[in-house]
């Protein structure tokens, strides 16, 4: 019966092309606008590492001033840790994996003399970063623990930097000069662009991933400076490199991989004990306060999806509602024009339920067509967003299969909802009344 109803629906649309086009247009515009805003929302709020987002925790410690709490977050916990705490926590190592990292700015001097030196952002990190965040490798792999401790000058290149320097060839074992220092390439990543950039929401949530990754233990010998956000209290540091490392300034992102609830509880306990130990050394003047937030909690906590995005989604759905209300009127007009046929079908044995299903199928067909139009409009809308905003919007504003599916389902749901009342209305009227109108 479904295929019969489908055939009737297509025939009905051919019979009233203008009315059908108006309905498809109304649904299409509503879906187009909703798809555009929903896509931006979806990509901003999506889970960048779904396979283990519940096992990765951002670590927060309250090392702030005794006089005033940290002001950047709702619970007054700093979102980064100090160098001292980062290295201490790494040394104590109580999690399955843990990682401290920050970004630094470096200059690449290419071997090819035709290429000019250029600027890159490097992530200074421990080697656990790669397995912890499931970073995919194209060639080679992370450096080993021995490279960490021996302070070897090794580097992992991003796919893009390897393309730029070596034309995409396997460059493992070759050298690259960063800030005048020679680094041996141990690995090249595949294209990797988690959205949002969850492991470092301090420095442009939707920015590019880093171009290069170098060992954290090179911080001191190479006197690497953070190129990211630094927050300090009191007098901060004495402006010397060593003074900055010893200061209470926070500039390092710290993550722990805790696969089970008990591991999480133990680690939380460990953090509390660590803070209490530090208090004995005269640090952490505020009450003991630590926090572990998993990836999605971390994204929400940092307000990655702003209220403006949410408001826009709300407004677009209200607009879709207006489109649906218009479509109700159009569908009702269309169905009522066929009252004679409805009466006839009832006389020939169609039950109300059968006709109700028939008209809902017709509404759904309008929805699928409207959804297709809406996707085209949504694609155009996102193209407009990219053109208007440029930069990071290019990555955020694109349609993926999930959004295509959601848009089509939304279109079908909207049109079926629009068809419910007209279908209910026409099947309620006694068939004899319709037959008189034939």
């Amino acid at each position: 019966m479904f295929s019969y109803n489908l055939r009737l629906a297509l025939r009905s649309m051919r019979r009233t092309p203008i009315l059908s086009a108006l309905m498809i247009g109304a649904i299409g515009i509503g879906i187009g606008v909703s798809t555009t805003t929903l896509t931006v929302y979806h990509l901003r709020s999506g889970n960048p590492i779904p396979q283990k987002s519940g096992q990765l925790y951002a670590v927060q410690l309250d090392n702030w001033s005794p006089n005033e709490p940290y002001g950047g977050t709702s619970d007054h916990l700093p979102t980064q840790v100090t160098y001292r705490d980062a290295t201490n926590l790494m040394r104590l190592g109580k999690a399955k994996r843990q990682n401290a990292s920050y970004i630094t700015s470096m200059t690449v001097i290419p071997h090819n003399r035709n290429q000019k030196p250029f600027h890159v952002i490097s992530r200074v990190t421990y080697n656990d970063f790669f397995p912890m965040f499931d970073v995919p490798f194209q060639y080679g792999g992370p450096w080993g623990d021995a490279d960490n401790s021996s302070r070897a000058q090794v580097v992992v290149l991003s796919h893009e930097l390897n393309e730029k320097l070596f034309g995409g060839a396997n460059s493992v074992g070759k050298d690259v000069r960063l800030d005048g220092n020679r680094f041996r390439i141990v690995g090249v990543l595949k294209h990797w662009e988690p959205t949002p950039h969850f492991y470092d929401l301090e420095n442009d949530s939707f920015g590019d991933s880093e171009d290069a990754y170098i060992p954290f233990d090179l911080t001191v010998p190479l006197k690497l400076q953070s190129a990211g956000n630094n927050s300090c209290w009191g007098n901060g540091s004495d402006h010397s490199f060593e003074g900055h490392l010893e200061s209470e300034c926070v500039w390092i992102q710290f993550w722990a991989e805790l696969p089970t609830a008990s591991a999480r509880a133990r680690y939380h306990q460990f953090l509390g004990n660590y803070v209490r130990d530090q208090k004995k050394a005269g640090r952490f003047p505020r009450p003991v306060k630590t926090s572990l937030r998993n990836v999605m909690q971390w994204i929400a906590y940092n307000g990655v999806v702003g209220n403006d995005t949410r408001s826009l989604v709300g407004l677009s759905f209200m607009f879709l509602l207006v489109c649906v209300l218009n479509t109700i009127g159009l569908i009702l007009a269309k169905f009522m024009r066929r009252s004679g046929e409805i009466g006839l079908r009832r006389a020939l044995g169609a039950s109300r339920h059968a006709l109700f299903r028939q008209y809902l199928v017709e509404s759904a067909v309008i929805g699928v067509s409207g959804g297709a139009v809406g996707l085209l409009l949504g694609w155009a809308g996102l193209f407009g967003v990219r053109s208007l905003l440029g930069g990071n919007a290019a990555r955020i504003a694109h349609l993926d299969w999930t959004m295509i599916g959601i848009s089509l389902l939304l279109a079908i749901a909207a049109s079926v909802a629009a068809g419910l009342y007209p279908a209910w209305r026409v099947v309620r009227i006694p068939p004899a009344a319709y037959l008189k109108t034939q």
């Binding site: 006389a347 044995g349 068939p431």
Partner: protein, 237 residues
Amino acid sequence: MLKMDGVTKVYRTDVVQTYALRNFDLDVKEGEFVAVMGPSGSGKTTFLNIAGLLESFDSGHYFLDGENVSALGDDKRSRIRNERIGFIFQSFNLIPDLNVHDNVEVPLRYRRMKSGERQQRVREVLEVVGLASRMKHLPSQLSGGQQQRVAIARALAGEPRVLFADEPTGNLDSLMARQILDLLEGINEDGTTIVMVTHDSELARRAHRSVHLLDGQLMDPEVTVLGAEHGEATASP
């Protein structure tokens, strides 16, 4: 086959109530061909709508094929219409954008008949009305008489126990009207009960008997038995 006892139908508005049928009694035996006559507004169409389960009534009882159908739900009424009743209308009521085949198969679709069986049945009934060669034609490509024959084929497709015809020749010229009546007589001779509403006394004379309606009531009961094999038919006010 069809028995109505004291059926009353009232149309109400805010200011007036009109009796379309008042204490209406009728008994139609199986295999009969009965003409229901009366002037415009006498209640003929209301009678046909109630008899065809297209409309409910306010009081009385209605038995169709021995079953009390006075207060059935919509699904059950639809099923009875589909399986036991055939309709023929004055204005043919074919669906304009369905071809002859698709028009005739409409009632079979709602019976969920399998495709092969459905095709065969459609061909059979179109052969009965002499239009098997026009299956792919649209109604607009047929004459009025041919359209009414398609409507008759559609009514016969479901092998109904009773056919209700509402002025079946009203929109046809006399030659075509005669052909349609010949066809209806043939169908009746094959055993299908026919109840035909008309105000044309020439047409009514082709029925086994006729009953007359005026202001929703049967008047001057007149029994005309044309064939002993049809048994006695009665009508009382």
